[in-house]
């Protein structure tokens, strides 16, 4: 079945440093969604990308969808302690159900 992998699994950064997580799907995706889950919390929708090569920005967060629509990335500039959490990408399979990635857990040290 479709697999969605993310790297790295964990990332520890000093506050102010940048952070990037990469998402790779075994199949071409019609769109990709990103979610953030704080420790002990539930996933919260961040953004959806649909077009090949699309780039979207939300303040310090930059999301990119690959040209082949099989990979995506999330880059955070100048991390803050409020960025702590696990970031998941998710893409629909051929039946449109969301397949979540393995997640990248971000820890930010003040």
């Amino acid at each position: 079945g479709q697999q969605v992998m993310q790297i790295p699994q964990y990332q520890h950064v000093q506050e102010g440093e940048d952070f990037t997580t990469y998402c790779n799907s075994s199949t071409t995706l019609s769109n990709i969604q990103w979610y953030k889950q704080r420790p002990g919390g539930h996933p919260v929708f961040l953004i959806q990308l649909v077009k090949s090569g699309e780039v979207k920005k939300q303040k310090r967060l930059t999301f990119q969808f690959g040209e082949a629509k099989k990979n995506s990335s999330l880059h955070i500039t100048a991390t803050q302690t409020t960025d702590v959490g696990t970031y998941f990408c998710a893409g629909p399979d051929y039946t449109d159900k969301l397949i979540f990635g393995t997640g990248t857990r971000l820890q930010v040290f003040p």
């Binding site: 019609s30 769109n31 969604q33 979610y35 919390g41 539930h42 996933p43 919260v44 929708f45 959806q48 998941f88 998710a90 629909p92 039946t95 449109d96 159900k97 969301l98 397949i99 979540f100 990635g101 393995t102 997640g103």
Partner: protein, 114 residues
């Protein structure tokens, strides 16, 4: 209005017991999803409703798992004869219309089977 709510937030069951988990989606949301999340992993799809119709139940691990949404609003996930491997967080999500839209998640029910 209010977000997605789930009850109970925590449930401890003895192996072999039946449990029922409730989800109240955002009012007006047509689609409702159940996911299972094991510790340190991403949510895994269980089942999906469009109004009262269960359109996809391919993710349900066994016939011990059953979900319903009889009036197209509140949904219940029932697990019969619980086993230790059922221990996980069960997340409910809703979306305005369809699985390709933004999904709003509830706080989850943490199920522990002893």
């Amino acid at each position: 209005g209010a977000g997605v709510s789930q009850s109970p937030r925590y449930k401890v069951a003895k192996r072999g017991q039946d449990v029922a988990l409730r989800c109240d989606p955002i009012s007006g949301h047509v689609s409702l999803f159940w996911y299972q999340q094991a510790l340190g992993q991403g949510p895994e799809f269980l089942t999906y409703f469009q109004n009262e119709a269960q359109l996809d139940k391919s993710g349900l691990p066994s016939d011990r798992f059953f979900a319903e949404r009889p009036e197209g609003s509140v949904s219940t996930l029932k697990i019969q004869r619980t086993q230790q491997e059922d221990s996980a967080v069960y997340l409910c999500a809703s979306s305005l219309d369809g699985p390709l839209r933004e999904q709003f998640f509830g706080p989850g029910t943490r199920l522990t089977v002893l």
